[in-house]
């Protein structure tokens, strides 16, 4: 199972707690993890990635294993610790605004 930590507002939308666990078949990448998150929680479609462009929303960041993976290609493998379920994949709202 892949562990994913959602930001506050997306937890509320999906009606889940701090962390969700999802099943990913095949390679564990940003794209496959996000596809699985959206399949498990359809209400999150469009909130992490733009519906049309499928690009990460500008004020969201993807972290894991103390690395910023936001600008990594979406089909690159995520760290082994994420794939093994030892470390979570973090979806983080950038600190901005009032």
């Amino acid at each position: 199972m892949i562990r994913v930590v959602l930001p506050h507002h997306l937890r509320n939308l999906a009606r889940v707690g701090d962390e969700v666990e999802i099943e990913v078949t095949g390679a564990v990448t940003q794209r496959s993890v996000l596809d699985a998150v959206e399949a498990a929680y359809p209400v999150l479609r469009g909130t992490i990635r733009d519906h049309v462009s499928r690009q990460r929303r500008p004020f969201l960041r993807f972290f894991a294993c103390e690395q910023d993976l936001s600008h990594e290609p979406p089909d690159d493998p995520l760290p082994e610790a994420v794939a093994a379920g030892k470390e979570p994949f973090l979806i983080v709202g950038a600190m901005a605004g009032g």
Binding site: P7, H8, H9, L10, L13, V43, R45, G46, T47, I48, D50, H51, V52, R57, F59, L60, G93, A94, A96, G97
Partner: protein, 371 residues
Amino acid sequence: MSGVRVLVGTRKGAFILTSDGKREQWNVSGPHFAGWEIYHVNGSPVNPDRLYASQSSGWFGQMIQRSDDGGKTWEAVGNKFAYEGVPGTHQWYDGTQHPWAFARVWHLEPSPTDVDTVYAGVEDAALFRSADGGQTWQELPGLREHGSGPHWQPGAGGMCLHTIILDPSDPQRIFIAISAAGAFRTDDGGKTWRPINRGLKSQGIPDPNAEVGHCVHHITMHPSRPGTLFMQKHWDIMRSDDAGDSWREVSGNLPSDFGFPIAVHSHEPETIYVVPIKSDSEHYPPEGKLRVYRSRGGGNEWEALTNGLPQKDCYVNVLRDAMAVDSLDSCGVYFGTTGGQVYASADSGDTWAPIVRDLPAVLSVEVQTLP
């Protein structure tokens, strides 16, 4: 006893204010969708318990929420707003062409005849419709594809389609307004559109009499007179008696004709309300006095309504969708401010009192009159 439900969108959530027909004691519910910008909440004329809310965020994009119990519970519905075909470009602030890109829903207008049909006015300017209660949205591309589209450019708040008026006497006729393109009308259910800006004069654009490019702030109509429209333009209060084919100015003796909202009395089609703002450079009331102005003759002659409103040191704004009326026998008038107050008058504007004083900045106010 009949009552009212005031639907308030704010910078940090939605609030629902309810009262009986006396409109003296209020119950405040919220914040709903706490922390999100709620540009608009509106109810179905067919079933007042069906509400639609536009929930948006710079972080997480657009959500549409639907309620079937008057706002007690909500369900997220469709949030995919995809332009039809290749969306093309419009003018950008620097004069270059900029790709059309969806940002948010500014206004939701439920159908007067079908509870599941609702229109959405969006930024970048386009009109969408849902026929399944908001689950899916389809653009009416004829508007965006009007030949003038590449000449449209955003106002300071973005290139938003903020006003949608469904003609109650003709289901094929819709009026919309865009900042800063102007007003448009369709007479064939949204297939084709024509600009209806003749008579508008805007000194801030190269040709003051241009066919498009006017910064229309809001338009309103009384349902018994669908050919008569009242407009608050960037500057100027305007009136049309031929469904927008021509406009004339009715600013008259207002202390300033800059402002955002405009509303019409529910029982008196010639009684209209505006909230003058000092200027486009200073978005607050003239002299620090919050005054609603009422004209009982369809414009030109205006009276200040001040009883119960702050008359010193008031520097709030009232945004374009933040004024509404109920349809009780004694018409109620409501508006919200960027300072978080929602004021109500149960006597057509003669006297006012705040329902709430300390909400987040108010973006929109709608009122439902309940049986």
